[in-house]
Symmetry: D2
């Protein structure tokens, strides 16, 4: 059970993107993995991760840890777009199904806010493998986040 | 519902460790993050991850993606120790609670097999932050894995 | 990671419904709770649960156990519609977020197959509270199921 | 990420049990299923559920919904024992693995608090099938709860 939803102010898209990009740039892990920010809209954020040998598990596919990292980030940023200025979000927990081998030129994670509460938010994230312009769903995440005042 | 449990053969510890280390060394992501293998016993595997700026989220703690990556790996390797030779394991899904800020000199993930089935296994993983020799629980994972014949 | 998808045969809607209704009728719990089957389509199943004092938690809302029971059933039946004749499905695991107080005249759970594999399927379930003809999302489930030959 | 832990006051066992029993008695679903309260200790609660035809799925085992209902309740009551007087707890989300067919004379769910935070708590629940005095693990739950002031 969560609490009452936040009011749905619709801040200017540029400002929303800048806020997410700033948070992205301060996330050492995302840069280290080679991820970059894609589309950003209120309540929805895309992250791309090009394939590389530094991202693999023992069979040469993307490691579940890499898939989960960009899914968690896409979900967190999606929640951030619905969080009042002066607050940040932290992941409380998530669950992810690895539905198919994650292989291709890149992964794309798309986080979408399902419910934005004052304290807790629920987000769904779809992850696709991209190969020759075609997208195949490879993972599905359901995530809970908490908003906290920034120090 | 899973299937009937695997017989609990107790292979020699050295061979078990060699099998896990081989799988670890072929996992590009784990090397890229700077993780290393700790204790290995039948049904239980430890992974260590020293802190570094390349592992952080926007507040400077270990990123949930880094925490999850070593937890997923520790769980997968724990399942591997209970899987017959000639088979490998893949993560079907996992759920992780990030219980406290993951900050310290390093993280330690400890995967333990709860149920080893012929097809599916269930594993629990505890993740601790280590600081000045003291361990604080920071994350808790429950994971489902599938065993498959190696090609 | 799951296995290769099942072929998507499209059996006659009447037969699909009859198969699900038969499975529903043999589920003592669903009858005991007062649930009944709603719409059935290949890959999607609805279950309704009218409110009653026998379904509550300590504050008088629908108990999370009741919400989860019909969500698990709707997801399982959705998977059943995509499973070959002669096979049945069992829940491997699920994760559910209780997003808002489940209060109203009834609940409606809608299970949708996201991926139908030969062995494992992944299903999403939305649960709504219905009050004066209006639906409010109250829960969200992500579920893994296994198909097995019927005895 | 949760918040700072609650202080670990150790109220008298009788009072703790009375508080849980009161909450149990106001839960219509638990009575309707035929469940009853077992052992209660600070941070740990047991619930028993005798087998009956009104609790089954289509193969005659305990329905995942029944298993989950008592697991959710045992976890919630365990969290309640660690929550200050004047507050109640609500389930935010849970994840449960159904590890083996739930068949036997009864089920026993044992909820244990892993982390009691001021706002959020994390609980693990083991469910056993009991047959001729022997206990078999059949389900494993990881649960997040929120504490709220009672009205």
């Amino acid at each position: 059970m969560n609490d009452t939803p936040s009011s749905d102010t619709a801040p200017d898209r540029e400002a929303v993107r800048a806020r997410v990009q700033d948070c992205f740039d301060r996330s050492g892990l995302l840069c280290h993995l080679g991820a970059h920010l894609g589309e950003v809209a209120p309540g929805r954020v895309h992250i791309h991760l090009p394939y590389g040998a530094q991202l693999t598990q023992h069979l040469g596919f993307f490691h579940a840890g890499a898939t989960s990292a960009i899914a968690d980030a896409a979900g967190g940023f999606a929640a951030l777009t619905r969080t009042p200025i002066g607050y940040t979000v932290l992941t409380v927990e998530f669950k992810v199904n690895l539905m198919a081998p994650a292989q291709g030129e890149s992964l794309e994670a798309v986080g979408r806010v399902i419910r934005a509460g004052r304290t807790l938010s629920v987000v769904q994230v779809d992850v696709y493998a991209v190969q020759l312009g075609e997208k195949t769903p490879v993972a599905l995440m359901q995530q809970t986040l908490m908003s906290l005042p920034e120090k």
